[in-house]
């Protein structure tokens, strides 16, 4: 009897991912309600939207730290580190697949398994996301949240004139990432395979995480 293959995504990883996804989605939505308070009133007043946004941001920060803690202590961070021995070649192969091979029915250039979940393009994207965009959003968001609490710090770093546009730009980039992420999640063996993998842990055909 063959032992069951380990899941591509552990239960912990899946819960963390969906929690983070939900928080980011809600943060974008509540952020847009703050950015367009007269047009997007589904959260009630702007003051309510700000309260929601602040609490969601707090939960995201906690979740982000838990994720960082998990990946560091469980030594899972290597998933995000590009392999420099063939990074360029693998990245070109991945790009060629998206731009050409996928239309010809070619196999995905990366066979994923629990030890190797991300392709080179994903690694670069997540490195930027995890090391620049999320920290930037957290820092600018916390500073704006704390404008009344630490006014001197808030003013010293440029106040709303710097933090507001910076946080807004980060939101747009997150939104762009989210659209791309959702679409590329349909590029598995079947449109729903990758999504199923992130829900159940396995795509059921031995190839997952190709996005």
């Amino acid at each position: 009897m063959t032992p069951a293959a380990p899941p591509l995504y552990t239960l912990h990883e899946r819960i963390w991912h969906w929690l983070q996804a939900a928080l980011m989605g809600l943060l974008i939505v509540s952020g847009l309600a703050i950015h367009y308070p007269d047009r997007l009133r589904f959260l009630g007043s702007m003051a309510h939207a700000i309260t929601w946004h602040a609490w969601l941001g707090a939960f995201l920060i906690i979740n982000a730290f838990l994720g960082a803690f998990y990946h560091l202590t469980a030594e899972k961070y290597h998933h995000f580190l590009p392999r420099m021995d063939d990074f360029t070649g693998a990245a070109v192969r991945q790009a060629r697949f998206y731009l050409y091979g996928i239309f010809k029915g070619e196999r995905h250039p990366l066979e994923t398994d629990p030890r190797r979940k991300l392709n080179p393009l994903q690694k670069v994207t997540y490195l930027v996301l995890l090391n620049i965009l999320i920290p930037s959003q957290i820092v600018t968001g916390v500073l704006m949240w704390g404008a009344d609490r630490w006014p001197n710090v808030f003013d010293r770093v440029g106040g709303l004139w710097l933090l507001g546009p910076a946080h807004t730009l980060g939101t747009y980039l997150f939104l762009a990432f989210l659209i791309g992420h959702l679409y590329l999640a349909t590029t598995g063996p079947t449109p729903g395979a990758l999504l199923r993998a992130m829900v159940t842990g396995s795509s059921g055909n031995g190839q997952a995480g190709a996005e």
């Binding site: 703050i34 950015h35 007269d38 239309f103 807004t168 939104l175 659209i179 791309g180 679409y183």
Partner: protein, 702 residues
């Protein structure tokens, strides 16, 4: 009872509380000479000792029949007249004629002081003549003319006792320094020549203590005497409604013996001397009343100043109860014209004498003291009460520049942090917004809109328009619609820029670039008119009629505008030819007149976030300025060339984007490149996904 309650309930300041309590006890112990009238806003007071009215020789006026001398009557052993008269209320800027002081406060050098006596204002486009001039063309408004025009309100003392070099008029040795000395001359209106002023005939107007301290003071009678150049009798005339003096058959004043005791002092009930009541301040500063259902903003042919400039009404009555004028939509305005007035606050509660131990602020920010336990002694205060009354600092006022932000401000009574539970980021909001921004959401009265001195009507004067009213301001049937304020940044007490509500008065006027000052009104008159009779219509020059008049040869309001460069050039030529103005420039001035009265309570204040935080933010609300503004001429805003006029709409409107550019208002402010790059990123991701998905679908790979 109510007034007593006001005194004893005042409590956040220990020393004032002690003083006020003491005063209240004294009130109980000592019966006042005359009980305050029903409905009067006269504050509780100690009985003033009997007063003997004296003339300038120190004789009882009952015996001499001469005008009252306040220097002799109020000064002398009781009050320090010279100390009092050296304060701003009597000097009006005369004590601040220092070019360095002007420069340090950003006041252009063509003003001779930052105060009312010396500064230029688009209303009424006149300037006090600088001392030391040698050319008659540099003379505009001399000191005597200023007193005849403005002395009805401005209460004598320094400005009408001393010349610009500090000599007391009519004193031995007092003499003009040349034929053009602005303290001793006046420009004859018809002939246009500078002629001597006869001080011996007009006499001196000493500080008019009665105007503020006698409940039945008559500004109308005072104004009449000052306007007629009869300065000597002006203070006595102020008593015309008190029963102390009556107008005699020759038009002069006679004392009414019935108002005096057998010993020769004035009966207490006649003078009724007190702290200034609402009614006293109201005579000059704007419509103020405790509970008035008829708003009479025009009194004695003057529009009350605060009401004129910004439309504020300090009145405790509900707007809905207003009987006159017709306030449009008043039925739904079941709240007071001013919340503070409804609570019984009077002017001197906030604008107090700085050394009044019962009212003074006892903090010392320089020493980090919120309470300074050493208060002024009451006796010292009574001898030398400081008449540099505590004041704020709202645009455009430059007056009394050295004493800005000395008054009891909102935060000295209200703890805003403890209220406003609905408001996130309270401190940031309170730093960025003046309290008035939310607590004056609308002005329900009319106010000045424009005063155009660039082209004069056939009366020789400017064209004035008002906002907030359909019809004439003197017609009680006109609909008073009120207006929504514009918003400007202005420095607060701590020099942080705060957004505050304001009216805007737009003027068009000529500026003399060669002499770096506004062109005087008489020069514009000389340029435009060939005949300037004292009474009746003035006659425009033929060239002016040809260029400006309609086909019937009439220059009416729609024609009296600079709508082509040729018309501007024509008048520039006339100014050069007839007025000696070699380098003139037509200018627009947009003057903010911010407001601090007509305050509403929390029930009517703005609470909706999107009032400011939205694409339609009220903070950027355009305000119509003047239908007939010339294009392509410099726009002056608070002394600097800043283009705050937007000509793109139906009518020229105020555009404050450049003024508020230092404020980032979430929900309203946008960083263009962030928006472009951000949405481009989102659109690119979406477009890539859609196109890629369609291609996969077409290739059967989805």
């Amino acid at each position: 009872m109510h007034e007593n309650h006001r005194v004893v309930s005042r409590g956040p300041w220990p020393a004032p509380l002690r003083a006020a309590t003491g005063l209240a006890l004294l009130l109980v112990a000592l019966p006042a000479q005359e009980p305050a009238g029903q409905g009067s806003s006269t504050p509780p007071r100690l009985a003033h000792p009997a007063v003997i009215l004296k003339d300038d020789a120190g004789r009882n006026v009952l015996e001499s029949g001469e005008p009252v001398s306040t220097r002799r009557t109020c000064g002398g052993d009781c009050h320090d007249y010279d100390f009092i008269a050296n304060s701003f209320h009597f000097q009006q800027g005369k004590a601040e004629m220092d070019p360095a002081l002007l420069a340090s406060h950003g006041v252009p050098a063509f003003n001779s002081s930052p105060g009312m006596f010396g500064k230029f204002s688009i209303i009424p486009n006149r300037q006090l003549t600088h001392s030391g001039i040698t050319d008659p063309s540099d003379a505009d408004m001399s000191q005597p003319e200023w007193l005849t025009k403005c002395g009805g309100c401005h209460t004598g003392g320094g400005i009408s006792e001393y010349d610009l070099r500090g000599q007391r008029f009519l004193a031995p040795g007092a003499a003009p320094a040349g034929a053009l000395d602005p303290s001793y001359t006046i420009r004859d209106r018809e002939k246009g020549q500078v002629v001597a002023w006869d001080w011996a005939k007009s006499g001196i107007a000493e500080a008019d203590c009665f105007l503020c301290h006698v409940p039945k003071a008559s500004r109308a009678a005072r104004k009449k005497e000052m306007g007629a150049g009869n300065f000597r009798w002006a203070n006595t005339a102020t008593l015309a409604e008190s029963g102390i003096v009556t107008v005699n058959a020759t038009g002069g004043f006679s004392y009414n013996r019935a108002a005096f005791t057998p010993e020769g002092s004035v009966k207490a009930g006649a003078l009724n001397l007190s702290d200034p009541a609402l009614e006293n301040c109201a005579m000059c500063h704007g419509f103020t009343a405790r509970n008035a259902t008829a708003i009479q903003a025009i009194q004695h042919a003057d529009i009350l100043r605060g009401t004129e400039k910004a439309g504020w009404i300090y009145n405790g009555a509900k707007i809905s109860d207003t009987l006159s004028p017709k306030i449009v939509g008043k039925e739904s305005m079941t709240y007071p014209w001013d919340a503070h007035a409804a609570k019984g606050l009077i002017c001197i509660d906030c604008h107090f004498s700085p050394n009044n131990p019962g009212r003074m602020l006892q903090e010392d920010p320089k020493k980090n003291l919120r309470y300074k336990p050493v208060a002024e002694d009451l006796a010292v205060y009574l001898k030398r009460p400081d008449h540099n009354f505590a004041r704020g600092n709202i645009p455009p006022e430059t007056v009394n520049v050295t004493r800005h932000n000395t008054m009891r401000a909102c935060g000295d009574c209200h703890d805003a942090e403890k209220g406003h539970a609905f408001l996130p980021y309270k401190s940031r909001h309170f730093q960025a917004l003046a309290c008035q921004t939310c607590h004056i959401p609308a002005v329900h009265f009319w106010a000045y809109r424009s005063d155009d001195w660039g082209f004069l009507m056939d009366t020789g004067t400017s064209r004035v328009t008002f906002r907030g009213i359909d019809g004439s301001i003197v017609d009680p049937e006109s609909d008073v619609t009120g207006y929504l304020p514009a918003y400007i940044p202005a420095p607060d007490k701590n020099n942080h820029m705060q957004i505050r509500p304001t009216n805007l008065i737009t003027g068009v006027y000529w500026f003399d670039r060669a002499k770096n000052r506004p062109v005087f009104t008489w020069q514009v008159q000389q340029a435009l008119f060939e005949q300037r009779p004292a009474e009746g219509e003035w006659k425009y020059r033929a060239g002016v009629v040809k260029a400006f008049a309609d086909k019937d040869g009439i220059i009416d309001i729609p024609q009296a505008v600079y709508d082509t460069p040729e018309k501007i050039a024509l008048v520039q030529g006339l100014l050069r030819q007839y007025s000696g103005v070699t380098d003139s420039e037509l200018r627009i001035e947009v003057a903010p007149w911010a407001m601090s009265h007509s305050i509403v309570g929390k029930g009517q204040a703005i609470r909706e976030c999107t009032a400011c935080h939205s694409s339609q933010s009220m903070l950027h609300r355009p305000m119509d300025l003047n239908t007939f503004l010339p294009k392509n001429v410099p726009v002056i805003y608070r002394g600097r060339k800043i283009d705050v006029v937007n000509f793109e709409g139906k009518e020229p409107a105020f555009d404050n984007r450049v003024l508020l550019q230092s404020f980032y208002i979430i929900g309203n402010s946008r960083s263009p490149w962030v928006e472009w790059f951000g949405w481009l990123s989102v659109a690119s991701a979406a477009l890539f996904s859609i196109l890629h998905g369609i291609l996969r679908l077409l290739k059967g790979r989805l």
